[in-house]
């Protein structure tokens, strides 16, 4: 049997596949890159060739311009490409639109790089598909037993209850521009909120891109269109940084909400001045991480980033060999 390290090994730029000569989610420009999803810390501009799902390529073009890489090679879910005997295919990861796990096969060895993922339903992207493998390379952003995300329907219901309880105030929901914002909007629509949702300018382009991919976000209006009193009772979606920004002054006595897995911990909410924390995450929580490892039962578990030591300990306690790669450059704080 071949050692897995000869297929994929950690380098300062990211995971490197020597026999296929490519990196996965490199943090600095390289000749060939496989990109799992469009978040800025995984998808950077300036690579030679980028291999990713068509959705991820569209997101990168939207964010960085058409010339974000020397060339772009779309690889739809389920398709594969082979080079120098290394086969690469992309499988849904359930994280955001276009997000994929990279499945790398070579000489009978299968390694799966999860990228960022979650296991629960997301109305804006296809669900994570477990792939049997020799080595599963997982993220561990929420790799501590304290992170156990409640049902997102419950969190949306809390938001709507608060809107009903404080009809004279507006509710600003801080949500990351790619993925979280659109998922929160979709969840609100599913919960029956059919009034216009006001959105911060920084979200508009990605909202349009999601809509172009068939995700109906309903009636959206720029958060500049109304006068202060018109925002009473309104739901506004904005990037998290806008919550404490001068931008928020246009709203009447706003309730600061924040949709993030970090909101599970009260001190985090307090620190950011969040009045209504919504625990809605695009990452797997502790139960999802451990259930996924248990379901796949890989020969070895490698952990790329996040709280690696706790997940590694859990795996060892459950008889799975685990190794923390401690890859740097993945900014789990900003992404969720």
């Amino acid at each position: 049997m071949i050692r897995p390290e000869s297929l994929l090994c950690p380098k300062p730029q990211g995971l490197y596949c020597a026999p296929g000569d490519f990196f996965i989610d490199p943090v600095s420009p390289v000749t060939r890159a496989v990109i799992t999803h469009g978040h800025a810390d995984h998808a950077r501009a300036g690579h030679g060739t980028v291999i990713a799902t068509p959705e991820t390529l569209a997101i990168m073009a939207e964010r960085y311009g058409q010339d974000f890489a020397g060339s772009a090679q779309p690889l739809a879910y389920g398709q594969s490409i082979v080079r120098d005997g290394v086969e690469v295919s992309l499988v849904p990861a359930g994280h955001v639109l276009g997000s994929a796990q990279a499945v790398v096969r070579w000489k009978g060895l299968t390694m799966v790089v999860s990228g960022d993922y979650k296991r629960r339903r997301d109305p804006t992207c296809p669900a994570f598909e477990p792939v049997p493998c020799d080595v599963f390379i997982s993220e561990a952003t929420f790799g501590l037993p304290v992170f156990r995300h409640p049902d997102d329907g419950h969190e949306i219901a809390r938001l709507l209850r608060s809107v009903a309880q404080f009809p004279e105030r507006s509710h600003i929901v801080g949500a990351y521009a790619l993925g979280k914002a659109q998922r929160v909007i979709r969840l609100l629509r599913e919960a029956g909120w059919d009034r216009p949702i006001y959105v911060h300018g920084a979200l508009e382009r990605l909202n349009r891109l999601y809509e172009a991919h068939g995700i109906d976000l309903g009636s959206l209006e720029p958060a500049t269109s109304a006068t202060k009193q018109d925002f009473a009772g309104a739901i506004v979606i904005a990037p998290p940084s806008a919550l404490a920004d001068r931008w928020s002054r246009r709203f009447p006595d706003p309730v600061a909400a924040f949709a993030s897995g970090w909101m599970q911990v009260r001190a985090r909410a307090r620190q950011r001045g969040v009045e209504l924390p919504l625990v809605i995450s695009d990452h797997a929580d502790w139960d999802e991480l451990t259930a996924t490892v248990d379901e796949i039962r890989p020969g070895e578990l490698w952990i790329t980033h996040g709280r690696e030591e706790a997940l590694a300990r859990w795996a060892e306690l459950h008889g799975i060999k685990a190794r923390a790669l401690a890859l740097v450059g993945y900014d789990d704080e900003a992404e969720d």
Partner: protein
């Protein structure tokens, strides 16, 4: 339990008083008896358990999960109740969630070992927020930023009544307060307030507006006395039941055994709680040593002996004297206090005067002695009955003019709630000699009110335009002899402080004027504050 847990969860992150009132009022309106009554008792501090010690909870969780993973989790979260609520590994087949009243009932009747089993079963059946609320309740002290007064205000709002009416009956009621809610919802009459040792809602004064009020008021109608600088209290002994209450009706009897012992009478008096060594009145700083303590020891009682200076008589031998005019109550009070054998209760002396000018002179230049540390004067209409709340007209407070200094803005911090996008909390400093001998600013206080919304916008802009450093939510502002923003800061008093580098601490500092015109180099020196302090102490 779920509704109660969500209420605590929201309250713990809500800053605005109005929003808190809405949250509590809506909860009380939507939750059936007896749950809402137990919740109200928990919020007012009338219900707390010591059912579970942190050590037991920790042991219970470590029996269910890897202790190392638990330790890492605890290290990350930092709060035991919250960590356990988050990580608790529920066993399958849990029972339905308990109602708050079931929890309360079970705890009252259970033995210590039964309690531990019950807690584990409840933790199994609750979700995260419910577990967190349960553990807060079990380990005593909710600490969600709600005072008992605010909780009572929310109950009063529910019934559309004045909070004084709730306070009047409060100490005659017992959780879960079904009779209170029946009255608030118009299903029955107001419960009787006739319970010995109860609290009577306090009468408060309006601030005097010299320019307007003196023109309308006849000095012959008013009595004057000093406004002593302690905390307002009500001392009761009825049928042997002794109580000491704050002006909000919080029972502080346990913290002041020395005062309680002195209540050798039958009735209720209104007065100021002060520290008095023999006949010598001490400053508010000394009284602070006695406030907010759970227990008191002999040393504290000896070094900071508390006493009451009586203002008013509310009840005597079962007779409600609040309906009598102040002139009559005062005569009765003098006789009442005169009969006491203790030195721990004395009278607040009246200050005779003929004209408003006489009174202004007295306020401007208090005679030597303890009047020097009074907060100002109180005016009370001779014919005023003792009325709960803050009625307009019968009583006025006329505080001494505040002290003023010019200080330079050094740091600004983001506010909360409505002000979260503004730098609205200001640390200001005065000039002193730095280590290198050059003039340098040293912080002397912090203020976050005293300016208009328009001024706040201007200061916020100044802070953003003149930032030289950032530490999280705090910005350091450019300051040197030629550059900086000067505030005229008003404050009520000064104390020595070992916690502040400058060695002084202010009472009630606020921004009285923004001196856009004043060069920062002309702001005050630390020396002028030290001189003020010496003057105050020399009095």
């Amino acid at each position: 339990m779920r509704a109660f847990a969500e209420l605590l969860d929201r309250l713990s992150l809500t800053g605005s008083r109005n929003a808190k009132l809405t949250l509590v009022r809506d909860y009380l309106a939507q939750t059936p008896d007896p749950d809402r009554g137990w919740a109200l008792a928990a919020l007012t501090g009338d219900l707390s358990f010591n059912a579970a010690k942190p050590a037991f909870i920790r042991k219970a969780v470590e029996e269910r999960m890897d202790p190392t993973l638990f330790r890492w989790s605890y290290d990350y979260v930092g709060d035991l109740a919250e960590t356990v609520a988050l990580v608790w590994p529920s066993r399958p087949g849990a029972n339905r969630e308990p109602e708050l009243s079931e929890v309360v009932d079970a705890l009252r009747g259970a033995s210590r070992t039964e309690v531990q089993r019950l807690i584990e079963a409840w933790l199994d059946s609750l979700e995260t927020t419910g577990r967190w609320a349960l553990l807060k309740l079990m380990t005593g002290g909710l600490r969600v930023g709600v005072s008992s007064r605010l909780a009572k205000q929310a109950a009063a709002d529910l019934g559309g009544v004045q909070v004084a009416e709730v306070e009047e009956v409060w100490h005659a009621l017992h959780p879960p307060y079904e009779d209170l809610f029946a009255w608030l919802e118009g299903r029955s009459d107001r419960p009787s307030a006739n319970s010995p040792g109860r609290f009577r809602p306090v009468m408060l004064a309006q601030a005097l507006d010299e320019a307007v009020d003196f023109g309308k008021l006849d000095p012959a109608d008013y009595a004057a006395e000093w406004k002593w600088d302690g905390i307002r209290v009500q001392a009761v002994n009825e049928g042997g039941l002794r109580r000491l209450y704050t002006r909000n009706g919080d029972d502080i009897s346990r913290t002041f055994p020395d005062v309680l012992e002195a209540l050798e009478f039958d009735g209720a008096i209104d007065g100021e709680l002060l520290v008095m060594r023999g006949a010598v009145l001490a400053s508010f700083a000394d009284l602070q040593q006695r406030l907010n303590r759970k227990s008191v020891d002999a040393k504290l009682l000896k070094n900071f002996p508390a006493a009451i200076r009586a203002y008013d008589l509310l009840s005597e031998a079962g007779e409600d004297t609040r309906v009598l005019p102040f002139a009559e109550r005062r005569v009765r009070l003098e006789a009442f206090v005169g009969r006491l054998k203790t030195s721990r209760i004395d009278l607040s002396p009246m200050q005779p005067f003929k004209t408003w000018a006489d009174l202004a002179a007295l306020r401007g230049e208090p005679p030597p002695g303890e009047a020097q540390i009074a907060e100002g004067l109180m005016l009370k209409r001779w014919d005023s009955i003792y009325e709960a709340g803050r009625p307009k007209g019968p009583w006025f407070k006329w505080k001494r003019d505040p002290f003023l200094i010019d200080a330079v803005l050094m740091y600004a911090q983001r506010g909360h709630g409505k002000r979260s996008s503004f730098y609205s909390d200001y640390t200001f400093g005065v000039w002193t000699e730095g280590e290198d001998g050059a003039r340098a600013l040293t912080p002397v206080g912090k203020a976050y009110f005293g300016f208009t919304d328009e001024e706040l916008k201007q200061i916020d802009k100044f802070v953003r335009d003149n930032t030289v450093d950032r530490y999280g939510p705090v910005r350091a502002v450019r300051t040197d002899i030629h550059h900086g923003l000067v505030f005229e800061v008003a404050f009520e008093g000064l104390q020595r402080s070992t916690r502040h580098k400058s060695g002084v601490a202010m009472r009630f500092p606020r921004i009285s004027r923004i001196r856009w015109d004043k060069p920062s180099g002309e702001a005050d020196e630390l020396r002028s504050l030290e001189r003020m302090l010496e003057q105050m102490e020399g009095r």
